[in-house]
């Protein structure tokens, strides 16, 4: 039974050598899709297990917890795993049409699963050095995916991306070294236990190093410029994968660290988080408004939306953290979907530029529909998911008297609506300039199905917001009451290894 816990990393790991051996692209696609479907099933099952019987822990190699590396799955991890599984599933379908046989021959599929391996590993590990290793697995795969195809723009974007990632990794390791020197442990639960009764001031240096390292990965305010420089260069399936998952792993790590063991000096840290969150939201959305390439608009929006998640962490009440988790899930679904639709538009019209696009609403009403749903979800129109996500965050902000950040959040929401309407107005409603269009071209079904699926999820978690928010609230309570986590990790290890 405990073996279930390792499946989120075992499934992609088994898929990689199989995908390397097989030569036929069609079989590769089928294997890739079924592996990601298995991931979704496993992670839903894990969520149910965690709901029924609390935090699940497994010690890798049967070494007990403070020394060995535990795999820990609590509600937050399980929700993130489901999110990664769904995105993986949708993109593996989409990629079978979008990515092109040349990239497939150059091992797109194994790299894709290596990325999922890193992401899933980061979500379930209970050890900070192991978290670093999973980050590196994820980054290696993303470097390869980013430059796969060798186009000029891709290489240019990759250099910026790789440089920033290496700096972030360096700071991450420096932080790990410091914290190990101070506490003598790298186990997250053990750290939570030690830092509680230690002189917490000593932790500020390493906390700041982690904050910057994860900040670069999550693309928050002063460290975001690598993201719009690189995300629009690879094919749509890869951009969508990056947009959906990569930055959110940084957010995940930040939430985990700042709820589990960096909970001291909250007057300083929470103010810093809120300031950064506000600046990230505002600057991201303002820069998005000035762009004309659909994918660049969406890239800047990723940054802006990260701000909301950090805002939830900065307010630091159960309701706010719950809102942040719900927002992350909603945002990943909607954001990935908009990138996928941008890819469809490009496959139909051969352009991403909103000035040259036009008339899509008339010619392809289905494409217009599957863009409208996630775009309005991002802008926050009820009954779609974004409305409830923002509502909860705003409510949490007002309850804890954080009026300024709440005001910024609402203002940014309006500007978000503006830039979504900008894409809508130009690419869909405006009549096409040169007038000639062949409406016989239909978007391929394999491209449309994942978008429709993601639309359903966006609408579904909006309509079922009550159930979802109950789930995220219990996840947030679990995060804030770190006693459960510490007990689950440290006690089970004693139980398994009595000597």
């Amino acid at each position: 039974m405990k073996g279930m816990l390792t499946l989120p990393i075992l499934i992609p790991l088994i898929a990689i050598p199989i995908l390397l051996v097989i030569k036929n692209n069609r079989i590769k696609r089928i294997i890739s899709i079924s592996a990601t479907a298995a991931l979704v099933v496993v992670s839903v099952h894990l969520l149910q297990t965690v709901q029924q019987s609390g935090i699940q822990v497994m010690n890798i190699g049967n070494w007990s917890a403070p020394i060995g590396i535990p795999i820990v799955i609590d509600l937050y991890s399980a929700i993130m795993l489901i999110m990664a599984g769904i995105i993986g599933f949708c993109i593996s379908i989409y990629a079978s049409k979008n990515i092109g046989s040349q990239r497939e021959n150059h091992h797109f599929h194994p790299l894709f699963h290596a990325l999922l391996l890193g992401v899933n590993g980061a979500f379930i590990t209970g050890d900070i050095f192991n978290l670093f290793v999973w980050f590196e697995v994820m980054l290696m795969a993303s470097f390869c995916l980013l430059i796969l195809g060798n186009e000029r723009a891709q290489l240019e974007g990759a250099i910026k991306y790789i440089t920033m990632s290496l700096i972030s990794s360096f700071l991450f390791v420096a932080g790990i070294g410091l914290i190990y020197g101070e506490t003598g442990t790298l186990n997250m639960a053990d750290l939570a236990r030690i830092i509680e009764d230690d002189d917490a001031m000593l932790m500020n240096t390493s906390a700041m190093l982690f904050f910057i390292a994860f900040g670069i990965k999550a693309a928050i305010f002063p460290f975001f410029y690598w993201l719009p420089a690189s995300y629009h260069t690879p094919p749509a399936a890869v951009s969508a994968l990056f947009a959906g998952l990569l930055t959110k792993v940084g957010v995940y790590a930040m939430v985990r660290f700042f709820t589990l063991f960096f909970v001291h000096n909250d007057a300083f840290w929470h103010t810093l988080l809120l300031v950064v969150a506000g600046a990230t939201m505002f600057i991201g959305v303002i820069m998005a408004a000035s762009q004309n390439d659909i994918r660049r608009i969406l890239s800047f929006h990723i940054i802006s939306q990260i701000g909301y998640m950090i805002m939830g962490l900065g307010i630091f009440t159960p309701l706010a953290i719950s809102g942040a988790i719900y927002f992350t899930f909603h945002n990943v679904m909607a954001k990935t979907n908009t990138f996928l639709v941008a890819g469809i538009i490009n496959s139909l019209k051969g352009s991403y530029h909103i000035k040259t696009l036009g008339g899509l609403y008339k010619q392809h009403p289905l494409v217009a529909f599957i863009f409208f749903i996630p775009a309005m979800a991002l802008a926050g129109l009820p009954p779609l998911s974004g409305f409830f996500a923002k509502f909860v965050l705003v409510k949490a902000g007002l309850e804890s008297n954080e009026y300024l950040i709440t005001f910024v959040a609402l203002l940014v929401s309006i500007i978000t609506l503006f830039s979504m309407v900008k894409i809508w107005g130009h690419a869909f409603w405006k009549s096409e300039e040169n007038g000639e269009h062949d409406s016989t071209r239909r978007p391929a079904l394999t491209l449309v199905i994942p978008c429709v699926l993601l639309c359903c999820i966006s609408a579904g978690i909006g309509i079922g917001a009550n159930y979802c928010l109950e789930l995220t609230t219990s996840a947030a309570e679990q995060l804030l009451d770190k006693k459960h986590y510490v007990e689950a990790v440290l006690k089970i290890s004693e139980h398994e290894n009595p000597h």
Binding site: K2, G3, T6, L10, L13, I14, I16, P17, L20, V21, M58, N59, I60, G61, N62, I71
Partner: protein, 139 residues
């Protein structure tokens, strides 16, 4: 490269590197060594040879780089999952002792894991180098 000294040295050094790498791989369980460093040693032997004889030499050695990677991944996967058979957690070491007359040989999954890393490192390094050498047409 057309130096006869280099050519002959490379030819005889390659097996030395590889034998030494296997020694380092096997002693790695209790002493300094192990799969990663052994993989680096073996691949530096092969790379020294192919820098002298051109990029084709990489593909002619033993296995193709991709096959090394697959072999390594399968080895690691097997060693990680064998523990499941004894209903232990992932990556738990499983040991078996063979008695052959005078010697007693203990074989376990950590060795399989190390061998997996060994082949994976060789495969990755050869892949990287061969693609760079093909790019700059190193003949």
């Amino acid at each position: 490269m057309n130096s006869i000294i280099l050519k002959i040295t490379a030819k005889y050094l390659k097996p030395v590197f590889i034998v030494f790498s296997i020694y380092v791989l096997l002693r790695g369980h209790n002493s300094p060594g192990g799969g990663f460093i052994a993989g680096l040693l073996a691949s530096s032997g092969i790379l020294f040879y192919s820098l002298t004889y051109g990029s084709d030499a990489i593909n002619q050695t033993y296995l193709k780089p991709k096959s090394f990677i697959i072999l390594g991944l399968v080895g690691i996967l097997l060693s990680a999952t064998i523990g499941f058979l004894a209903s232990k957690p992932l990556l738990t070491g499983v040991w078996h002792t063979f008695k052959t007359g005078l010697f007693e040989v203990k074989v376990g999954t950590p060795l399989l894991f190390d061998s997996g890393v060994y082949f994976l490192v060789i495969g990755s390094l050869l892949t990287i180098t061969s693609s760079i050498m093909e790019e700059i047409e190193w003949k």
